[in-house]
């Protein structure tokens, strides 16, 4: 369950950039992995607390998202997809090379110190409290995003997705808004990575690989892009599907791929689209 919630958070952060702003980014894994390291390295090397780590797991990926985004949003369409893949690839290559810092592909194993929240204590070593921690953070992020996409800023994002040229002519700074959306999504992806690391007590360079971003893409598409509840449903459904299938046959990816392709062909608006269509 905890894992599903983490992927839910990752999927909705991706959906902000893909579903709302219309940028297909395969580079979210970079921020996801960075978020993981932003938790693991300070705890392991500097003796920082878990709370500080999670805070860093938002800030550091967001900072990187500013840099990566600054270059990436200059490009659009296919070129944008490819440049985000390349940035993620550089990240994972460096992550594997700098083993003294990142532990390479073997990763870093650590124990997360408990979080002191005034009157009560949250111990990440306990599965239940980790679950509640992840649940709270994911729910808060969901509320934040649903507020965001209904705000004027969210409307600008949608305007860019619908017609970039027109949004520019109306007078919006398209590049800035794309960057902003990229940075918010990057920060939240980082948070997802941070939580994942706290839950697993493990951070690895494999989290940086661009195909990790594929998970978010699948969840968002299957659930329904351009809505927030869609990726939540998508992540929940696919993850539980995977959990059941793993016992039946080893080929989870096969089913996931098949589900993805058939969704694209028959229900391009995802589960949400199907539900809405039925209501009408």
């Amino acid at each position: 369950m905890t894992e599903i919630l983490v992927w839910v958070l990752f999927a909705i952060s991706f959906d902000l950039i893909f579903g709302y702003t219309g940028l297909l980014s395969f580079g979210q894994a970079l921020f996801f992995g960075l978020g993981g390291y932003a938790v693991a390295i300070p705890i392991l090397k500097l003796g920082a607390g878990t709370g500080t780590g999670l805070l860093l797991s938002v800030l550091i990926p967001a900072l990187f998202a500013v840099i990566v985004g600054y270059f990436s949003v200059k490009l659009s369409g296919i070129h944008f997809v490819i440049i985000t893949i390349i940035f993620a690839l550089i990240g994972s290559t460096l992550g594997e090379t700098w083993a003294w810092l990142t532990g390479g592909a073997d990763g870093l194993v650590f124990t997360a110190p408990p979080i002191e929240l005034g009157f009560f204590q949250l111990d990440p070593a306990d599965i239940k409290s980790t679950y509640y921690l992840v649940l709270t953070v994911t729910a808060l992020s969901y509320l934040f995003l649903s507020r965001l996409v209904r705000s004027p800023l969210g409307k600008v994002f949608v305007a860019i997705r619908e017609n970039e040229e027109r949004a520019r002519l109306i007078g919006y700074d398209v590049q800035f808004h794309k960057l902003l959306s990229f940075v918010i999504a990057g920060g939240l992806s980082g948070l997802a990575g941070g939580l994942y690391t706290v839950a697993l007590k493990y951070a690895s360079a494999t989290f940086l690989h661009w195909s990790i971003s594929g998970h978010a893409v699948v969840y968002a598409i299957v659930g329904g892009g351009g809505t927030l509840i869609g990726p939540v449903l998508g992540a929940g459904l696919i993850m539980s599907l995977e959990h059941y299938l793993v016992n039946l046959l080893q080929a989870t990816d096969l089913v996931v791929g098949a589900v993805l392709v058939s969704m694209l062909l028959f229900a391009p608006r995802g589960i949400i689209g199907i539900l809405q269509g039925r209501r009408k």
Binding site: K74, G77, H79, L89, T93, E96, A258, L260, V261
Partner: protein, 320 residues
Amino acid sequence: MASNLAVAIVNGIVWGLIMALIALGLNLIFGLLHIINMAHGALYMLGAVAAWYFIELTGNYWLALAAAPILVGGIGLALERGLLRTIEDKPLVTIICTFGIMLALQQLVLMYFGGTARRIALPVAARFPLFDLQYPAMRVIIAAISVVVMGGLWLFLNKTRYGLWMRGVVQDREMAVALGIPVHKVYMWTFVLGSFLAAFSGVLAAPIVSVDFMMGREILIMAFIIVIVGGLGTLWGSVVTAVMISLIQGVGSIFVVPSTATVFSLGFMILVLLVRPQGLLRAPCSRTRERGPGSSWRSAASSRRWPRSPSSRTFSTRPS
């Protein structure tokens, strides 16, 4: 040192030519269908795996080299007909769709072929001296075969009716339809040809690298890099870039750690994307669907993927 360098250079050229075949397939599909085929690496892997089975059955590498690409071409045919046909006009959707195909194909191979890497013995065991080292002759043969296939592709595109149709569709799709070219058939055969090329290079690469279900992943990215740097839609550029990049990586990794060389080539690639998104070997105007309407008509007239006669400009249906 001299022999190391020589081996690195020859290796670079051999590998570059194999990469060029992969990139050509990817580029062909992009130039015509405007599909970024994420499953291309998986098709390459499928070619190598199919070759392994053929060799197990018949023990003949050359038979596998002929049969495996045809098999994978058939798979490509099924994919294009069955899946991609309906979404061909939505570039972003096709990226995600081919990503799904990639996942499914990889997993299928994992299921039946297993996760362990396997080797294919060199079909030509002969070696020849290169400075003071013995160099396997097979690699040179592989390079020669790649060149022959590229020549064949060139002849196909420039001398046959189908090639003419393909060039026509690339230049101006509406016009091609108006002139009675069966555009959907051309799309289909282009995808088949691309799959064929991917699988063919997979079989060629199989004796050099080990065959496993993940072998397509890194290759896919390399092929992307090559296609982008060389210019999307510029076939000749892909060949030059492929050889250039693998030479740089090969020779570079003598002097620095291989991963540093990779990072540098990736950084170089980002620079190319930012400064010359149309690719290195191409006129400064590119014709990509995502571009604004302002830039696309201008480039349609001035960019030349393949040679075109000046008169076709007069009849262009695009608004100017």
